[in-house]
Amino acid sequence: MTGNDHVTGESSRDGREPNDAAFEELLSRALKIDVPAARAARTVTRRPAPWRWAAVAAGVLLTVGVSVRLLQDYGYLPTGSLAGDVVAHIHHEPGAVRIPVVSKGDAVAAAEVSAIVLAGGARIEHMQPMVRYAKLCPFRGEQVAHLVVQGEAGPVTVLLLPHEEVDGPVAVDEDGFVGTIVPLDIGGSIAVVGQTGEPLGEIQSEVAAAVRWRL
C-alpha cells in the first residue's frame, strides 16, 4: 500500500473489470465456503400446508421450537438446565477433550490461560493441573473461560461461571460425563466435569480455591 490509497487507472465503478465473468464466477464460488452441516440443517424451511389449520398450527409450533432450540444451541438462551448446558457445551467443542493425556510441553502457556480467564471475568493463580485447552466461549449469553485440565485418567473440563448462581452442588451426569457445578463463597460457580471414573475432588478443590472473580 502506498500513502495514496486511490486508484488512478481505469476501473469500473465497483472495482470489477469488464470481460472478467469467469474470474468473477470463480471468486464468488471461492468465497462461498461450505457452512457446517449442523448449521445448514437448521436452515431447512418448513413447508406448511396453508389450507389446513392443523398444519398451520403445527408449523407455528415447529417454528417456535426450532427458534428456541437454535437460540439454546448457540449459547444465547439457557435450556433451563445448567448441568445440561455444561454437557452440551462440551459436546459443542469435542476437540477440547479429544486427546486423553498430554505432556508438559503441550500445556497452554500460563500467560495465555490468564488472559482468557481474565476476559471471562475471573482471575486464577497457582493452579496445579496442567491446562491443555483454554478458550473464551459464549455460554448462556455470557463469555466464560472454558479450560480443560489434565486429570488422572484423561481430560477434565472446567468452566468458570461468575454469572451462574446455584444454591448447592449440582451433579452433572449425562452422556458419559460426570462432575459437579459448585457454588463459590465469592458468588458464581464453577463446573468441573470429567468422564466416568475420573476422580474430580482434588481438581475441584484446587480450582475453587484459586479462582477469583474480576471486579
Partner: protein, 175 residues
C-alpha cells in the same frame, strides 16, 4: 395474551431471519477471521446481541446490513483487540483445502483470498459475498468510497496475479 403473541411473532421473525442469513454471516465472519471456530463464536455472539436488540429494530429492509454490522463489531471486539487466537496460516490453509472440491482453481483461489491483507479481503467479501455496494462498504468500514474502490481493485489485481492471470491494467498498487 397480546404480549405473548407479540413475543412469539418476534421470535418467529428472528428465527426466519437467522435461517436465511446465517450462512452468509458465517462466511463473512470466516473471511474476516480466517478461522471456522472464530467465525462460529463471532456469529453466535452477534446473534445473541441481535436477538436482544431485535425488538427495537424498525426498518426490516436494512436488517441484513444491521446484522453484518453486528458481526463485524463482534469480531473486532472479541478477536481483534484481545487477540487470543493467533492466526496460523498452515492450519487455515489445511482448513480451506479440506473444504475445496475437486476443482483445483477453486482451492487456489481460496488460498489466494486467504493470503490477502485484511484491508483487501474484507471489502471483497462484503461486495461479492454479501452484495454490498461500494457506498455501503464505505459506510460500514468507515472509509471513503474512493478508498473502497481502490481496495476492491487491488484485491482483484492481486488475486489475478496469484491465479496466473495477467491483469489488464498494470501493477495495481502503485508499485
Amino acid at each position: 395474551m397480546t404480549g405473548k403473541i407479540s413475543h412469539l411473532e418476534r421470535r418467529r421473525r428472528f428465527d426466519a431471519l437467522v435461517r436465511e442469513l446465517r450462512p452468509e454471516l458465517y462466511r463473512y465472519a470466516f473471511w474476516l477471521s480466517r478461522s471456522r471456530s472464530v467465525a462460529d463464536d463471532v456469529v453466535q455472539e452477534a446473534l445473541l446481541r441481535a436477538w436482544k436488540a431485535f425488538g427495537d429494530l424498525r426498518e426490516t429492509g436494512s436488517t441484513k446490513q444491521w446484522l453484518v454490522t453486528i458481526v463485524r463489531r463482534e469480531h473486532a471486539r472479541l478477536y481483534e483487540r484481545k487477540r487470543f487466537d493467533t492466526v496460523d496460516i498452515t492450519d487455515y490453509e489445511e482448513e480451506i483445502a479440506a473444504t475445496s472440491d475437486d476443482d483445483p482453481d477453486l482451492g487456489k483461489m481460496r488460498q489466494a483470498i486467504f493470503r490477502l491483507d485484511d484491508a483487501y479481503r474484507e471489502p471483497l467479501a462484503l461486495q461479492v459475498l454479501l452484495g454490498h455496494t461500494t457506498r455501503e462498504i464505505a459506510e460500514l468500514t468507515d472509509l471513503n468510497e474512493a478508498t473502497v474502490l481502490t481496495r476492491l481493485h487491488r484485491a482483484r489485481h492481486r488475486l489475478k496475479l496469484e491465479m496466473g492471470i495477467e491483469p489488464e491494467d498494470g501493477p495495481g498498487d502503485g508499485s
